[in-house]
C-alpha cells in the first residue's frame, strides 16, 4: 500500500486539486452523459406513446 493514511491519500502529495479535479470531472462527464441519455429515452418513449394513442 502506498498511503500512510486517508488524509495523505486525499492530499495526493499536495496535488489534491489537480488530481481530484481531473478524476472528478471525468466521472461527472460520464455520469451526466448517462443521465442525459436516460432522460432523452424517457422523453422519446413518452412521445411515441402519445403518437401511438391517436
Amino acid at each position: 500500500m502506498q498511503w500512510e493514511s486517508w488524509s495523505a491519500f486525499f492530499n495526493m502529495g499536495g496535488y489534491a486539486f489537480y488530481v481530484w479535479f481531473s478524476f472528478g470531472l471525468t466521472a461527472l462527464c460520464m455520469v451526466w452523459e448517462v443521465i442525459a441519455l436516460r432522460k432523452r429515452r424517457a422523453e422519446a418513449l413518452r412521445l411515441t406513446q402519445l403518437l401511438a394513442q391517436d
Binding site: F9, Y15, Y18, S22, L25, T48, L51
Partner: protein, 251 residues
C-alpha cells in the same frame, strides 16, 4: 450468414438486441474501472519526478486514446452507411460523436490540469495538445452539421461525407502539427521526455482504457436506441413497442 447480417442491421431487430447488450458492457466498464483505479491509486508507486500529480495519467491517456479511436470507428460506420445506404450504420456514427467529443474535452482539461503543476502553465502550443484541440473541432463540426440539417436522411449522408473527409485529413493534420512544432524550437517542454513508465502504470492505463472503451460501447448503444425511437416514431414497430408500454421502458 449474409441473411443474418441483414436481419440485425435493421433497426427493428437491433433495438432489442442492443437493449440486451447494454448491461453487459456497462458492468464490464464498471468492473474494469474499479480495477484500474485500484491499480492506479493503490499499487502504482509515486513518480519520483512528478510526485502524485502523475496519477492524472490514468484518466488522461485513456481519454486521449479513446478520443482518437472513436473518431476512426465513427468514420468507419459513416463510410458503411454511405456505401450501403444502411440506416443503422449512419445512426451508429451519429451516436458515437458526442461521446468522442466528451473524451476529447476530458483529455484537454485533464491535460491542462496536469500541465499547470508540471509546466507552470495551463496551455502550451505543443504538437500533441494542438492536434487534440483540432480533433475537438472536427467532432464539433460533425455534430454541428448534423444538428443543423432537419431531414435525418440528408443529415446522415452529409455527416458521413464530412467524417470521411476528416479521416483522410486527421493523419495529415497530425503530422503537420508535429512537424510545425519540432521546427520551431520554442517550447522547452517535451512530453516525450516523461519518465519511462513502470509496468504497473502501463497496466493501469491499459485497464482504464479498456474500461473507457466498454463505457463507450454501452453509451453509444444507449444513444443509438434513443435515435431509433426518435427517428422511427411513426413506424409500426416503434408503435407496437410503446403499446406494450412498460416492456418498452424496461428492455
Amino acid at each position: 450468414m449474409n441473411i443474418n447480417w441483414f436481419k440485425y442491421s435493421s433497426p427493428q431487430t437491433f433495438y432489442p438486441l442492443a437493449g440486451k447488450m447494454i448491461p453487459w458492457f456497462a458492468w464490464l466498464a464498471a468492473i474494469l474501472a474499479v480495477a484500474g483505479l485500484y491499480i492506479g491509486f493503490a499499487i502504482a508507486p509515486t513518480d519520483f519526478q512528478q510526485g502524485e500529480a502523475y496519477r492524472i495519467i490514468f484518466v488522461h491517456v485513456p481519454a486521449a486514446w479513446m478520443s482518437m479511436v472513436i473518431y476512426i470507428v465513427m468514420a468507419g460506420w459513416a463510410a458503411i452507411g454511405l456505401a450501403l445506404n444502411a440506416r443503422l450504420s449512419a445512426m451508429m456514427a451519429q451516436a458515437l460523436a458526442p461521446t468522442g467529443a466528451i473524451f476529447t474535452l476530458i483529455a484537454l482539461v485533464t491535460g491542462s490540469l496536469w500541465g499547470k503543476p508540471m509546466w507552470g502553465t495551463w496551455w502550451v502550443w505543443d504538437a500533441r495538445l494542438t492536434s487534440e484541440l483540432i480533433l475537438l473541432f472536427l467532432y464539433l463540426g460533425f455534430i454541428a452539421l448534423q444538428s443543423s440539417i432537419d431531414d435525418p436522411r440528408r443529415a446522415d449522408r452529409a455527416g458521413a461525407l464530412l467524417a470521411l473527409v476528416g479521416v483522410v485529413n486527421v493523419p495529415i493534420i497530425y503530422f503537420s502539427v508535429k512537424w510545425w512544432n519540432t521546427l520551431h524550437q520554442g517550447s522547452s517542454i517535451n512530453m516525450g521526455a516523461a519518465p519511462k513508465m513502470a509496468a504497473t502504470m502501463l497496466l493501469g492505463m491499459l485497464i482504464m482504457a479498456l474500461a473507457f472503451w466498454m463505457y463507450t460501447v454501452a453509451v453509444a448503444l444507449m444513444r443509438v436506441r434513443c435515435i431509433m425511437l426518435e427517428r422511427e416514431r411513426t413506424s409500426d414497430w416503434v408503435k407496437e413497442l410503446s403499446v406494450q408500454g412498460i416492456a418498452g421502458v424496461k428492455s
